[in-house]
Symmetry: C2
Amino acid sequence: MASASDDDPRIGDISEGTVLRAILARTAPGEHTLLGPGDDAAVIAAPSKSVVATADTLVEGPDFRTAWSGGYDLGWKAAAVNLADIAAMGAMPTGLLVSLAVPRQTRLSFVERMADGFREACAALAPGCTVVGGDLTVSDLLVIAVTALGDLEGRAPVTRAGARPGDEVALAGELGAAAAGLALLFDRFRDGETPVPVDRTALDTDERRALDAQLRPAPPVRLGAVASDAGATAMMDVSDGLALDAARMADASGVTLSLSGAAVDALASGADRARAVGGGEDHGLLATFPAGRLPDGFHRIGVVTERGVDGVLVDGAAIAHAGWDPYRDWDGAL
Amino acid sequence: MASASDDDPRIGDISEGTVLRAILARTAPGEHTLLGPGDDAAVIAAPSKSVVATADTLVEGPDFRTAWSGGYDLGWKAAAVNLADIAAMGAMPTGLLVSLAVPRQTRLSFVERMADGFREACAALAPGCTVVGGDLTVSDLLVIAVTALGDLEGRAPVTRAGARPGDEVALAGELGAAAAGLALLFDRFRDGETPVPVDRTALDTDERRALDAQLRPAPPVRLGAVASDAGATAMMDVSDGLALDAARMADASGVTLSLSGAAVDALASGADRARAVGGGEDHGLLATFPAGRLPDGFHRIGVVTERGVDGVLVDGAAIAHAGWDPYRDWDGAL
């Protein structure tokens, strides 16, 4: 009689080929994939004669805890944060490469759920984009390294450096929700120092939304190309908090972004101001547009002015908070 | 007075931005880079309207030991193994994305040497290709995840599936050298179970060559495009040993590869037959060509026949050795 472990073997007990086949069985070929997994490399369409490429990695410990994030959550989030970076250039995602380093004792089903998370995040956020390749290694630590590729569809890339005095500053997405979700995890789902699984029934509707924003972020990927078409002069993904990322855009563009506190609060859905400007991982799109050109989905949060002493002002005052540093904040908190 | 640690801080004590700037200072812009590091994503030329993409990761433990591999070696090898996969499609590498997960106590100089290794491997093996992006995380374990991108320059991709009876089987590169180097490390540079630094003065010329083949492989990247231009019908990078990789090509193509033992030995430079066919990590290019079409740099090692019971024969006999599984062999050996 088969035991549960026969049906759901540990990664260290089966071959890399077996694992990869199980993952690929959950991955449909994408419309941009000219040659999919199974060879030394994939071939992906790049009709604009250029490819937009970005890499972002989730590491167990600094970036997530497996007590809080299931395989599906991790696949979803690893896809979403990379798709947002492609969108931030004004491009449409065309493919993901996923490199997994997985502890031997991990169950195959965990990795399969991760593949489901990748597939469904792509389908929801960037239809047509799929996992086109990757690799698998055993490791003492779970590491999910993703590269996302995208096509500009003939557009020029929108960098961080194009904001000009007189432009409007706008945001698509929300502020502080992912940080609120992280605070919930640290406040409510620990036994001493040890993370414990989340009991969603203990959460109200707003809390569940915050948790989802942290574990399964849904950045407005399609709005990246929309912003570019509307004439966005600068754009970036807000991954490290509005204060820090807006300062980066201001520095790259040589301008000051003068933001409205009330407009920021309006996108914070209950989060306080400190969390709205300092909290990371929301992955909204921060963009600047010539006055009056904001497309649907973007909300005006300020104006671009000549460069002053500070790169970012809220209601005319500098912000003290330095923003989110995933390098430090997660580990510092535990 | 500045201490040594002020000059060479630990990664955990400085900001991600400081580390990335130090790395980027060692990275020259490449000829294919339309928009380099510093934005949410890079933009790389894809003149063929497609991009070849592959990912391969080196994990501390299964893939390397820092007692044996310095930062430069690791950067070099992580670049080389990915460049070989691009070459195996008949493409030319255009850019690398490098995701580093690095322990906090790592010195900045280690990461800088890694950047040097990436740069110099690209310059030596695939001139014009450079690091175009990546990211950095702290981690309890050193993980180097690389994605390589390439352009087919108008060629069709050469897959594993195109070998046809009557073709010649050929190899560019050598066999068993990297495995000989690995055996040297395990045999000669351990204190009990613990790896100890390599003393090159204790090695003769052949041993140093084997060690270099293991730590700084130099796959014939440029010959991938040459093979394609010469009419290669199938091609792949020999990363897991000739026996296993040739079997994969045979299965994908639905043929048998009938190899000559003497021809295999001739490429093994002293390694015994078992190591020549079973040893991994040489990263030579295995290809099939219509009879009489082998370009310079490729050596005939056999012929393609109709599919028999076995996918690979050496002097008419099946091979028992299953080949190299990085998933198991390194860890199994320690």
